[in-house]
């Protein structure tokens, strides 16, 4: 199995996952192409580049600078301000002080993170940069989050510091959704860590604390996010990827996407593994522009609502043929064909100026 996955990615080392890429896995769970490539750890950005459809996930250095500055500000002073924010948001008394453990600085991080997080003790504690692990498609993935795990009143809370603003109690819904799914990855990893040591995984709360700048200033404000739904989605997709054998059963035996290969060969190989392109992929998957190009002429590329409104007919050419009545509907398409014919007639009438 390992060999087969290595062959798929072209022999190189598997690309490492982080919370962002794991979170992105939940975006389009029905896409086999993506599940296979991600399970194999293929280098999708390089692949997309090679295919001539480079991904556009650049980050502005202004955004990076601002994010780092805000994080440093919130974590300053041994996390004193952070502790107050989190405790107040959770509605527990603000402790006199808490231990601050930065797990990011030394070499033996996985072991130290494990030991620190599972050590007995119930006192208030903040753990910065914990190193967590998660099994993705049969391989252990190490996560190095910039986050803080807070132990307050005996429970762990994942604390995520983000630099998008919360203005009058509202933030950009897209950014909140992305933060929620990423935090869910950390909750899951933290729970697995505790469970492996014989602790109750429920010690990690499903409510994560999101710390953002408030309004237009740099004052931090804490909000609670319930990530139960995200946890469910994540578990399901990870379980699906764990059964990588099932996934590979649908993939041709010699399938490989070695980025060194000729672009035409690569494209031909990818066509063998079905994708399920949707416009949402553009914001989540590095290969999306390639898949969109491939999905040209399909109603799904216009968005699922369009496809449904067209009676679920897959090809644009078929839609138009059915609408014109120049093609006989296949079994099961009778209703869609009648709808499309009626729509085409009404549209033509109205455009021809027949008011009524």
């Amino acid at each position: 199995m390992e060999d087969r996955l290595a062959r798929i990615r072209g022999g190189g080392p598997p690309r490492r996952h982080n919370a962002r890429t794991i979170a992105a896995l939940t975006g389009n769970p029905g896409c086999t192409r993506r599940a296979v490539l991600d399970s194999a750890g293929a280098d999708k950005p390089a692949l997309a580049e090679r295919l001539g459809f480079p991904a556009r996930f650049g980050q502005s250095r202004f955004a990076i600078t601002r994010g780092n500055a805000f994080e440093a500000q919130v974590k300053a002073d041994g996390g004193k301000e952070l502790l107050r924010l989190v405790a107040e948001r959770l509605g527990v008394p603000v402790p006199e002080g808490a231990t601050w453990t930065d797990l990011g600085a030394d070499d033996d991080r996985p072991e130290r993170s494990r030991a620190a997080l599972t050590a007995s003790g119930n006192g208030p504690a903040l753990f910065d940069h914990p190193l967590l692990g998660l099994d993705v498609a049969g391989t252990r993935v190490h996560l190095e989050p910039d986050l803080v795990a807070a132990r307050l009143a005996g429970r762990f809370h994942v604390v995520e510091i983000k630099s998008f603003p919360v203005i009058d109690g509202q933030a950009d819904p897209g950014k909140v959704a992305a933060a929620a799914i990423q935090s869910a990855v950390y909750v899951l990893a933290l729970r697995e860590l505790l469970a492996a040591e014989g602790h109750d995984p429920e010690l990690v709360s499903h409510e994560v604390v999101l710390v953002c700048p408030r309004d237009f200033a740099n004052q931090p404000v804490a909000s609670l996010l319930d990530v139960r739904r995200q946890l469910l989605v994540l578990r399901r997709q990870l379980a699906r990827m764990a059964r990588v054998e099932d996934l590979l059963a649908a993939v041709p035996a010699g399938f490989t996407v070695d980025p060194a290969a000729d672009p035409a060969t690569l494209a031909a190989a990818l066509h063998e593994v079905p994708a399920r392109y949707a416009p949402d992929c553009l914001a989540a998957c590095e290969l999306a522009y390639f898949c969109r190009h491939e999905a040209r002429g399909q109603t799904g590329a216009l968005g699922r609502p369009v496809r449904e409104a067209l009676g679920g007919v897959e090809e644009v050419a078929d839609v138009l043929a059915l609408a014109e009545g120049s093609a006989a509907p296949e079994p099961g398409q009778a209703e869609a064909a009648a709808l499309l014919r009626a729509a085409a007639r009404l549209r033509a009438d109205a455009l021809a100026g027949q008011t009524a």
Binding site: R56, G58, Q59, S60, R61, F62, A63, I64, T65, R66, G67, S163, F164, P165, I167, D168, G169, P213, D215, F216, A217, N218, Q219, P279, D280, L282, A283, R296, G297, T299, A301, L302, G303, P305, V306, R307, E308, A309, L310, G311, V316, A317, V319, L320, A323, L339, L340, A342, A343, A344, L346, R347, D349, A350, L351, G353, Q354, T355, A356
Partner: protein, 501 residues
């Protein structure tokens, strides 16, 4: 997404060009709309970076914030923007007209025209809304004084952003939405948020299909994004060095001016293509004739403009950060009514929109085969004129007996379904009893009753008056909704104390 619109998208894919989904323009277009193309600095909370503003293609003014993180420069930008926007608003405050109210017993005055703001996309509206929020509470005295025009600008921007929430309002429009309301592209709604791509489908350069033009418009190296977000690559390679050079120039006037020019040139290059596209889009919209009910909705925008101008003149306070319970309920009801009226009026104005409702069974078109215009119902206390007509249609008629239908041709008239008789040949006979829209006598004036042979459209959509709900006064807010807001003497909402980085 209606099937008719989805079909138009499919046709756009096949033909390589955007396809019409409206036969008339459903939005008001001002002769001098104020086009605003804003850019924001990545990572910051709605920090303006630059803007191109003007009311005509050759009146572009470029505003630049050389150090977007600098609080003073942010408000200097706000003051510069106010120096364009506020005089523009004043252009519309000369002429008023009298509008009868209270059944003609009184009149009120409203401006005969109103300002209109155009931005490239919905994110541009969000930018203006947040910029209004960040400026309307600023004080002109105290620790961080701002120019007196800044809070006023904030209140007006908030006004426009709130109007933009109301379906059918044309006070502040996102051009992508205005265009896709009238044309279907061959791409998804996600991709329709990108103005250059939409115009690529609508008006591709010679030799390119819409799909090719749209794909080309997606490459930020070829076509800068329409804002407010900038291209990260531009940020990293061009903008950051230019901002650093400006900062390094320090107080040396010559170096500073040179660095400013460099920065302004970069930003102009990012904004100018979008500026051109904005006016091209406006030109495309102008090719459509306005729908019959557009003027009525624009009158609503003029009413709102007049009311807000009077509120500001009378020394009224800025819009609160959040509505109270009663205000929120009122707003919700107003938006719901506007949304219903907007959908109905578009269908009444535009047979292509009505076709969507015909397909979904809310309307049908048929031919009048029998008419009894003189029929009088004398079963009640007084005889009343109740003509009957029979309409034969090939379309499905799912309306039950007793349903009230309306016809866009005679909006004041109600038609009640009396019989529905499906025929063997796929046609349906519908007998309708008419009331209203025929004067007060027992004889219908000519033309008020459909004649035999006329093709008419009948729909369950009503453009009639929707009664407003009864809401308590704010001081009588029930306890279930938080009770009355604090003591009436308390200031409405003190300016939130915010310090700026």
């Amino acid at each position: 997404m209606s099937t008719l619109r989805a079909l138009a998208r499919a046709q756009a894919v096949a033909s390589g060009r955007a396809q019409p989904v409206a036969t008339v323009r459903h939005l008001h277009l001002s002769e001098r709309p104020l086009v605003v193309v804003p850019l924001a600095l990545a990572g910051e909370a709605n920090a303006p970076l630059a803007a191109m503003v003007g009311a005509a293609p050759d009146e572009a003014r470029l505003l630049v914030v050389p150090q977007p993180r600098n609080r003073d420069q942010r408000f200097a930008f706000a003051a510069e923007l106010a120096a364009i926007v506020l005089p523009y608003l004043d252009e519309f405050r000369d002429l008023t007209e009298a509008v009868p109210v209270d059944r003609g017993r009184d009149v009120r005055h409203r401006y005969v025209d109103a300002p209109q703001l155009l931005v490239p996309n919905p994110a541009g509206i969000t930018f203006l809304r947040l910029f209004g929020r960040s400026t309307r509470f600023r004080r002109t005295d105290g620790d961080y004084p701002v120019h007196q025009s800044v809070p006023l600008l904030g209140r007006w921007l908030t006004f426009f952003a709130e109007r933009a929430e109301q379906p059918g309002s044309s006070a502040l429009l996102a051009l992508t939405e205005a265009l896709t309301l009238h044309w279907a592209t061959g791409q998804s709604v996600v991709e329709d948020l990108h103005l250059p791509a939409v115009l690529g489908w609508l008006d591709p350069p010679a030799g390119l299909t819409g799909a090719e033009a749209a794909a080309r418009a997606e490459d930020p190296a070829h076509c800068p994004p329409a804002g407010p977000a900038t291209d990260p690559d531009f940020d990293n390679r061009r903008l950051a060095p230019a901002i650093e050079a400006y900062t390094r120039a320090g107080d040396d006037p010559a170096a500073r001016a040179a660095a400013y020019d460099e920065l302004a040139g970069l930003l102009r290059d990012q904004l100018a293509p979008t500026w051109e596209l904005m006016w091209r889009g406006v030109g495309l919209l102008r090719t459509l004739p306005a729908g019959a009910r557009v003027a009525g909705r624009w009158a609503g925008d003029r009413d709102a403009f007049t009311a807000h101008a009077e509120h500001v003149d009378a020394g009224g306070g800025p819009q609160p950060r959040r509505d109270g319970a009663v205000a929120a309920a009122l707003r919700l009801q107003r938006l719901e009514r506007a949304s219903t009226a907007w959908a109905v009026q578009r269908a009444y104005d535009d047979p292509l929109v009505m076709a969507e409702h015909r397909l979904s069974g809310e309307a049908f078109v048929g031919e009048v085969t029998l008419a009894d215009p003189a029929r009088v119902d004398d079963s009640g206390k007084r005889p009343v004129l109740r003509p009957r007509i029979q309409v034969v249609t090939t379309e499905p008629v799912p309306m039950p007996v007793g349903a009230r239908l309306y016809s866009p041709q005679r909006p004041a008239q109600k038609a009640t379904v009396v019989f529905v008789t499906p025929g063997a040949d796929g046609k349906t006979e519908v007998v309708l009893e008419l009331s209203g829209g025929m004067g007060r006598g027992l004889t219908a004036p000519p033309g008020s009753v459909p004649e035999v042979g006329e093709r008419i459209c009948l729909t369950s959509l009503s453009d009639g008056f929707l009664p407003g709900g009864a809401f308590p006064a704010p001081e009588e807010t029930p306890w279930t909704h938080g009770g009355p807001p604090g003591t009436a003497a308390a200031p409405p909402d003190p300016a939130p104390a915010e310090d700026w980085s």
